[in-house]
Symmetry: C2
Subunit: 303 residues, 2 copies
């Protein structure tokens, strides 16, 4: 039942009003796989340069994460930097060096081709389709995308959507992709292109999911301090798909639970810089915060 993720491994430099950190292990595949490894075995496909210090990968190796698919190329690792303002919704990209990631040509190792659960993290939709072509018969394909591909590779993205089961994206991306300002209309538009389930992440406002033609809404976990909102979306996807892979079921009930586990992982992710908080948590933390989400949202009819 292992999970396959194809995405980026990067070195991040993050600055927020609460501090800054350089050369943190980052990238979508990193966050996703650490989150998903709390549920199941993860096979990671990404590319790094020879400059990436070996010990940085220890955090992945020490977990349920297989690195056979991590390609090491001549050159430098993808580097990304951002600075957040006080309200943490305003982000400025301060560094973007694609380096070896620019010509990433994902090769799925033979051992991974029978992966049942596939997460196509945000990369060029042509590469995402290419990866799918290398996997034999996945049970579930989840993909993410960003505004850049909507603006520059719309045809490729639409073609990809016809082959995925679940699209996970944020609210501004959903609006831009569908050209619908209303998120419910955006969900329906996206569903019309292929994915049976659409998950719209709204950051501090929680999420909206359309699954089995019904909506599910959940708030974000209320945190008084948010240190680093970077790639909480990939931690979300890791919790979401990780739970589904572990449970083996894809009905509405399980999809709702998965969305909450995704929110749980995202909420932990933002509590410290980089992957720092994610690697600390254990099964008990996971279950406790899941129960906290239940309490946060629960109401019953009392007359």
């Amino acid at each position: 039942m292992s999970i396959l993720v194809v995405g980026s491994v990067a070195l991040d430099t993050i600055k927020t009003p609460f501090g800054e950190a350089q050369d943190l292990l980052g990238g979508s595949a990193t966050y996703f796989s650490i989150a998903a490894s709390l549920f199941d075995r993860v096979n990671l496909v990404a590319v790094i340069g020879k400059d990436l210090p070996f010990d940085k990968l220890e955090v992945l190796k020490s977990r349920n994460i297989d690195l056979k698919g991590l390609q090491v190329e001549e050159g430098k690792t993808f580097r990304w930097g951002a600075e957040y303002q006080y309200d943490l919704n305003v982000r400025q990209t301060t560094l973007l060096e694609l380096n070896v990631f620019e010509h990433f040509d994902p090769k799925i190792p033979h051992e991974y081709v029978d992966s049942e659960y596939v997460f196509l993290a945000n990369i060029d939709p042509d590469l995402q389709s290419n990866v799918l072509g290398q996997v034999r018969s996945p049970k579930l394909v989840v993909c993410d995308t960003i505004n850049f591909w909507i603006e520059h590779k719309m045809d490729s993205l639409i073609s990809l959507l016809g082959k995925v089961d679940i699209l996970v994206l944020n609210d501004s991306e959903a609006r831009e992709l569908s050209t619908k300002p209303n998120l419910q209309q955006a969900c329906k538009w996206i569903k019309g292109k292929g994915p049976q389930t659409v998950v719209i992440k709204k950051g501090e406002h929680g999420l909206l999911m359309m699954a089995e033609d019904r909506y599910f809404g959940a708030p974000a976990y209320p945190l008084e301090e948010i240190f680093d909102p970077t790639v909480a979306g990939d931690a979300f996807a890791g919790g979401f798909l990780g739970y589904l892979a572990r449970s083996g079921s894809l009905d509405g009930k399980h999809l709702r639970c998965a969305a909450i586990y995704g929110s749980v992982l995202a909420s932990f992710c933002v509590e410290k810089f980089g992957v720092q908080r994610l690697v600390e948590i254990d099964q008990e933390d996971l279950q406790q915060r899941f129960r906290d989400f239940k309490h946060l949202t629960h109401f019953e009819v009392v007359e």
Copy 2:
């Protein structure tokens, strides 16, 4: 167990991309009382000018709403106009004539002084305090405010907060009032000024409530078409306080239910222009949408 509301009755002119309407019966007390009248008897205190056509009030008289406190003054009724853009989050005020509302001096009729449930809709906080002074011993006082009073009458507002049980306001107002960008910190700050319960309305993003020192979060009802977001906040307050008055209980369970009933009323309110939709709904509609909210937000642990 009747409910007292003090606020505005106005004539509204609304334009949205889906249509426009002139001289609709509007104002905070109007929306609140129609919503609350689905739960309990409402006593309304507001002021209108002699120009307000008599038949416009029929919609209030035909319900559970007592108009003994509706003061009719020489002059014109408060008029307000707004235009909404496509995403309906962008509103431009196109008309603002306070008229008789400018010198509103709320007098609580003798029959109302024993009101147990009081809603102080958005008016000058000095007037809100003045109203409170005229009510004998209310069981629950809920108040609303807007940015204008935060910017121009902060001291009066802080003094008022010391006398109310629940503050209901929107997210930008909560941030401005507390000078905290984080809504959880804003809740705590507000609670420190007096109100035991804080309800932050986030429009299409639902709500965050702090009650009994715990957070409750709920999404907004997913609507594909929103015709008129005007004063959905007052319909929210009407459903919220109406339910509490009917149930007679103020514990956390009931406060959560009340927040959902508020969201139910707000969701109906925006479906048509003005009070049009609110006056159509009956108890069955109310219960059905409450159940819809339950389904929208429900998840359970499935392993």
